[in-house]
Structures are given as C-alpha cells and as structure tokens.
Amino acid sequence: MSQGQESTAQSIDELRAERDHLQRRVHTMEGLIEAGKTLSQELALEDVFRIIVELACELTGARYGALGVLDDSGERLARFITVGIDDETREKIGDLPTGRGILGVLIKDAKALRLTRISDDERSVGFPDHHPPMDSFLGVPIVTRGDVKGRIYLTEKIGSSTFTDEDEWIAMTLASQAAIALETAELYEMATHAASDLAEANVKLEQSGRHKSAFLANMSHELRTPLNSIIGYARLILDDADNLNSEQREDVEIIHTSGTHLLGLINDLLDLSKIEAGKTELSISATDVVQVARDTVNSMRPMIDADAVEIQLDAPETLFVQCDRSRLRQMLLNVVGNAVKFTRQGTITTTVTPRRGGGARFLVRDTGPGIPDQDVQRIFESFFQSEAALARSPREDEGAGLGLAITRMLAELHGGTVTIESNVGLGTEVCIEIPDVPEVPHG
C-alpha cells in the first residue's frame, strides 16, 4: 500500500468516524426532540423524570441512571428514580442517599461532575451493600430559578471508561427539561391551590348569601308583626276619628304614615336581596304601560302641594308592552316618587313614548334641586343618598336610598336601562327604557 493510499484510507476512516459521529449526533438530537415532544404532553412528574433518565442513559450509553429531586428543605432527596437497577436490588440497597458520599455531597453543588472512577474521589464513602459496582460517573444539576432542585446521575458508560463532553451536554439538556417539568408542576400546584382557595371562597360567599337571605326573611317576619299592631291600631283610631280633636287626629295619622313608610322600607330591602340573589322572576304579560303611568301619576297627586307643584302625564292613549306590570309600577312609583319628594315648586312631567325596537321609554323630569355631578355617579348604589338632596328633602324621615338601586335592577331584569341626568338648580331627568320581553315560560 502506497503512502497515498494509506493516507486516503486514513482519511476514509476519519470520514467514517466523522459520519458515525454525525449520525450519533443526529440520533441524539432526534432523541432530545422526541423527549421535548413527549414531555410537553400532560404527564405525571414521576413519568416525566423516568423518561428523562431513560433517555439520558440511552443517549449517553450509561448502564445506570438516576434522577434525584430534593425536598422543600433542599437538604434531602424526596424522590430518587433509578434506571438499570432492578426493583429487588434497589429494595436491598435501602434508603435514599443522604448528605454523605458522592451523591450526597453533589446534592447542593450546582456544577456538573465527571469522574472515571467514583471510588477515587476523596468525597466517596464507598457503596452501600448490594450496590452494583460503578466506576465512570457523570452528574449534572437540575436548576430552576437559580436553585439546585436535584440532579441527574449517570454511571458505567458502556464501551468507554469515561463520559464525554457530548454526554455532559446531553445530560445538561435533559436536566433542563427536568427543571422545566419541575417548575411547571410547581406552578400547576400553585394554580390548583389558588383554584381551590377560590372555590372555597365562593362556597363561603354563597353560604353567606344564603344566610343573608334567611336573615332578611326572618327579620322581615319579626318586623312585620309589631308593625301590624302599629299600623292597625292607628287605623282603628283613625276610623273612629269623631272622638279625636284635629291635633290628635294628625298625631295618629303620623303614626300610621310612618308605620306604612317603614313597611315600604322592609319591602324594599327584601326585594333588593331577592333580586341580588337572582331569585326574582318576571311575570310578563301584554301591559298598557300608559295606564300604569297614569295610575302612578294619579296616586301621587295627594302628596304634592297643588298650589306650588304641577304633576302631569304626556303620553299616547295606550301603549302595550310585554313586561311585568307590577314591577313596572314599582319602578315608576320609585322614580316619580323621588321627583315628588324633592320638588317643592315647578313641574313634574312623566313622558311615555314608544321605544325604538319595541317597548317603551319613560322620562320623568322634575324641577327639583338637582343632583351634583359627583353624586350622579353613585346614585344607583344601594343606600346611597345625595347629601345635597338629603339636606333639602322636605320629609327628612323618608327614603333609605334603595329605590333607584331596585329600579335599575328591575329594568335590567327586563333587559332595559335606567339613566339619569341632572343639573343642580334646574332639576333631574330619569329615563327608564323597557324593551318588549319575550314570554318565556320558566322551567
């Protein structure tokens, strides 16, 4: 063989070696890609770790592999998944490695470590009984957010006395996969905790909602019983008014009116809690809303000072809307009632017009004191009352600030709206829009 042939043969050998190396490399890459795919599926953490160790052994040619994960203290191994050692042997070896020996010492070390003979390392304390003999060693850390969380151990490289740089790179890559899996599991656990906390909070909220409803129902019953006497006896006296002088008659009328007012508040509170609890169902029928508006306006006439305030209705002869008649009446009573309460002179006008797209639009305009801008924002909140309005209310005992809150909830139950516009010194305009509500029988 000539020199040239020799060198050709050599270069062919080199090329072959290079090809083999590249093929291995491709195989490795394929393995890692495959690992990435597998691991991105939903798997139990234990399975993920096992797949990682198995791959690490396969791709580096290690006879034995293990993956250790530290517990929360960071001092001890909580899991130790092994490959290449059968269960029986593992059983015989016994406890997980602790802070002694190579495995133990390495727990806290963030660096990779490669040894040709484990027993040559000064930190080695020898193997426990029944442990298979191991010489070549490669250990890489599993690091999440800068903390060592565990380690992949590979030993006894097949067909070679020591692990290579490439083996170390493979192991590091797989260790980072393990780190991701660990981190994902931690996040998942946190999310699960948060979800169960949330569920618990929801249950508590629901319970407190039920307690509130039960409390209000009870309260309503307990308040109605004495109120029954207050209103009833006042009525008995008033029905026998011939025996009273005018002042006494007025006194008893005040008792009767106040009692009736208190009853209104109790009803409002019950209503509000029922609507809030989603327990209110509308009873929809074809309703002449002009008739409802007319009745409402007429019922207010006795309450105004006819010399100073004019109350009027501007509406077509009839207008039929699919809505809950008694709830509409309640809404209009609230809104027109507010206008009556706060208007000392001028005009209260209720305008009824067909709503675009079906239904009706009610505009109640008064010449009362008006509501300051900052209060208009809050006027629909339960129990909110405009301070300015409170100060000017001609009847100081009236109102709990529930009327508009209820009105809006009822309008929204119909799929409608309530809006308010007000100018201090000029008056207030409340607009209720109610669409035709389809009659859907509730199951």
Binding site: A217, S220, R224, D239
Partner: protein, 129 residues
C-alpha cells in the same frame, strides 16, 4: 257596614295583633272567637263550626298554620270551612304553599283592613256596592 255578620275563628299567637283584628272585625258586625295556637285553634273550629277561619302561619307549639289547615281539610266536619291566611310570612313560596293546601285567601301582615274586608266580601259573595 252592611256585611252579613260572619262567625269567624281567629287563630294567631300574637295577642296584640289578634285583639286588633278582632276589633276591626267587630266593627263590621262579625262575631269573632280566638285561639292563640294551632291545637286550640283546631279544637275551637270543631266546636264553633265558623263561617270562616283566619289563620296565622308561624305559631309556637309545634303546629304551624299549614299543619292546622291540613288537619281541618282532613276532617269532614271542617273540610269545607274557608280558611284565610293572615301572616307576616310574605314569601311567594309560602303563598303558593298556602294555595296548595287549600287556603281560600292570603292577607299579608301588616293587615290592610280594606284588603281583609274585600277578601271576606269575596268569600261570602257580598260586595260593598
């Protein structure tokens, strides 16, 4: 006060409320006898065979208004006597229940006398006009 006088048994544990209703009914010329719990109410109804029973819902002593009406309905001697609930339990569910067990009327507390009179008139077929 042109009502035809009725004989009414009034069953309610609230003494003041009962006295008040009796006076309101007296004024219309009705004749009222009273019981303050469910058991004595049933006995009184059996004894008096009234034209109408006015019945509270929530009462102490283990017998609610619902128990009372069920027992009255189960007894031939009392099954046809109209019962009107007069109660501070104003839930729609309670009202439904009252209708289901065979009550002829339901008046909420605080009692609006005009409403009560109207219910009585309706049951006895008299009307004020």
């Amino acid at each position: 006060m042109a009502d035809s006088p009725l004989r009414i048994v009034l069953v309610d544990d609230d003494d003041m409320g009962r006295r008040m209703l009796r006076r309101a009914l007296d004024r219309r010329g009705h004749e009222v006898t009273e019981a303050n719990d469910g058991q004595s109410g049933i006995e009184l109804v059996r004894k008096e065979s009234p034209d109408i029973v006015l019945l509270d819902m929530r009462m102490p002593g283990g017998m609610s208004g619902l128990d009372v009406i069920r027992e009255l309905r189960a007894d031939d001697a009392t099954s046809a006597i109209p019962v009107i609930f007069v109660t501070a339990s104003v839930h729609a569910e309670v009202r439904d229940l009252a209708t289901k067990v065979g009550a002829q009327g339901f008046v909420e507390k605080p009692v609006d006398f005009d409403e009560l009179y109207a219910v009585l008139d309706r049951l006895t077929g008299t009307s004020s006009d």
